[in-house]
Subunit: 338 residues, 2 copies
């Protein structure tokens, strides 16, 4: 199903915007490590570099975009606050950014979001309003709240400031790979609405133009992959379900897709079981906690969705905000993943 063509009303961010975002984030965001594991390299017979955004402030890359966007709200508008809707990682990013900038935040979150994400968002000082992910439209709720408060809406991905902020992850990735004498053949980026892919693609296009960048999505939420093939923005079926709560966006963003269409090499998909295997592998072999949506790139690699042999592949671990029960399920399903 294709989304009706819309006029792009905002100008697309460029790599210069990513560089400006990096300056704003300095001292606030973590320069997360690019992690290499000899046993993973041996397993895939290539070289794998993991950009561990699980170790970012708030446990996901989303802080980058949120802080970059929110720090640009004019002083005169800050007292009216910020409003956001999010499955949980953008929520925490916005809440933490608002906390640092002393701006009131209200976040609309699905009632079935992971408890860790709900707890953390509240702990950062935001007001949380919950809704039913499958029955209520969060955009309508947001519109009503905005009319009341006059707050600034901070979208989760379809915003130039958000995309530029996420791009700082790709900028660091490219520079760290270079410092580790790695020439990246491929970069795998976790993809929901496409903000991280678009931002990283901008940075990699500037700093490592020979790297093929792929969006990795859950089966049945492969809207970006299908859109890249058809050339127009495709939607996911309403009845689709995935354990990757962070990646269940309905369709590519207008701005994100305009960038991704130009810069991505393609899309890959993974099943829930492939994601569970990757989560168990990350816990047991890499000693890293990764949430389902953050594990899709490793899942694609371990499931052989691309040829890794003799290649250098960077991949994102986009977030680590997972409930223990979800992790326990993966560990029980795969007691000795190798």
């Amino acid at each position: 199903m294709a989304v009706a063509a819309e006029q792009t009303t905002q100008s697309l961010p460029t790599y210069a915007d990513v560089e400006a975002a990096a300056k704003r984030l300095a001292g606030f965001a973590v320069e997360t490590p690019l992690i290499e594991n000899p046993e993973l390299n041996a397993r895939v017979r290539g070289r794998v570099l993991i950009k561990a955004e699980t170790l970012q402030r708030t446990g996901s890359f989303k802080f980058r975009g949120a802080f970059n966007r929110i720090s640009q709200i004019p002083e005169s508008e800050r007292a009216r606050g910020v409003l956001a809707y999010s499955s949980g990682n953008h929520a925490q990013g916005v809440a933490a950014a608002c906390g640092l900038l002393d701006i009131p935040a209200t976040i609309i979150m699905p009632a079935d979001a992971p408890q860790a994400k709900l707890d953390n968002t509240r702990a950062y000082g935001a007001k949380v309003v919950t809704y039913d992910r499958y029955r209520e439209a969060r955009e309508d709720m947001a519109a009503a709240l905005l009319r009341e408060s006059g707050a600034t809406l901070v979208r989760p991905y379809d915003d130039p400031g958000i995309i530029a902020g996420q791009g700082t992850c790709g900028m660091e990735l490219a520079r760290q790979a270079e410092a580790q004498a790695a020439k990246l053949d491929v970069a795998l980026i976790c993809c929901g609405g496409g903000g991280l892919s678009a931002g990283c693609a901008l940075a990699l296009d500037a700093l490592s133009p020979e790297t093929a960048v792929y969006a990795v999505e859950p089966d049945d939420f492969d809207d970006t992959g299908r859109s890249l093939r058809s050339g127009i923005r495709e939607s996911n079926a309403g009845e689709a379900r995935s354990i990757c709560d962070a990646l269940v966006a309905p369709s590519p963003g207008e701005l994100t897709f305009a960038i991704n269409r130009r810069l991505l090499a393609g899309g890959l998909t993974v099943s829930d079981d492939e994601v569970r295997f990757a989560m168990a592998y990350a816990f047991r072999r890499l000693k890293l906690v990764v949430e389902p949506g953050g594990a899709v790139c490793l899942a694609a690699l371990l499931a052989g969705k691309l040829t890794a042999r003799d290649k250098t592949i960077a991949l994102t671990f986009s977030g680590g905000n997972v409930d223990p029960a979800r992790m326990a399920e993966a560990l029980a399903a795969y007691p000795d993943p190798r």
Copy 2:
């Protein structure tokens, strides 16, 4: 209870041996990241840098010492193999090092060692012989096996090559801290037999002499702390128990204590519950998997066993080889650690 004074039969390693070990380890060991988390900093009102040896090959620092020691076995003796006894992390280090150097390995391990450690040691290709930790003396079993095979015994900590290898962790730590513009006031090192403490103390004494280095031990296994106070090697009570399976050595090593006595500022201790809290904090806030024995330094910090305010503190996460049930227990006990 004090251990009878022994003549030191081997010369003590120096920082030059640590530097030589670093050359041997290049390309085999991982330069593990020094991780900083803004929320942890805010919590303790200081600056905390975590040396994540959980991300080392085999999931613990033990690979460093094992590879350094085993790579120095003369060619003519390699075919007779290597023998080691270990609660599990040294076992994996020895097994992995022997695998890389194509040397047969036999490891004596407690039957109640974490399943992850038993599985991994076998997966690296070693032959595992189990014993009852509380009824059998592993040293006697080792002596019998050595008589049969003529293998080289690789001790877990009381060996100059092992200590020098572990010291490369401290060498990296000092250099990475400097690169991150951190002047270390304190370094907290996980302590069982004292090999990591001794090696890191050698490196820090050379590279960061104003840093106060503390050994951190489980309650009732505070042999190094008590020995530092009395000046002679003290033992732990035979009935002592701890969830920190990696740190239940009976007394300080002869060589390790000779170094630690000279270079350590003191010892700190933590309870099993303080360790569980730290494991849950690491999983939920830092997104790192750490085993009980690897979490003692964070436990000491979070429990306020030292003053962190306005200080820069490095601490080791020495290993991450934990069974999921043990992690689940910690996560259930502390559902929202902050």
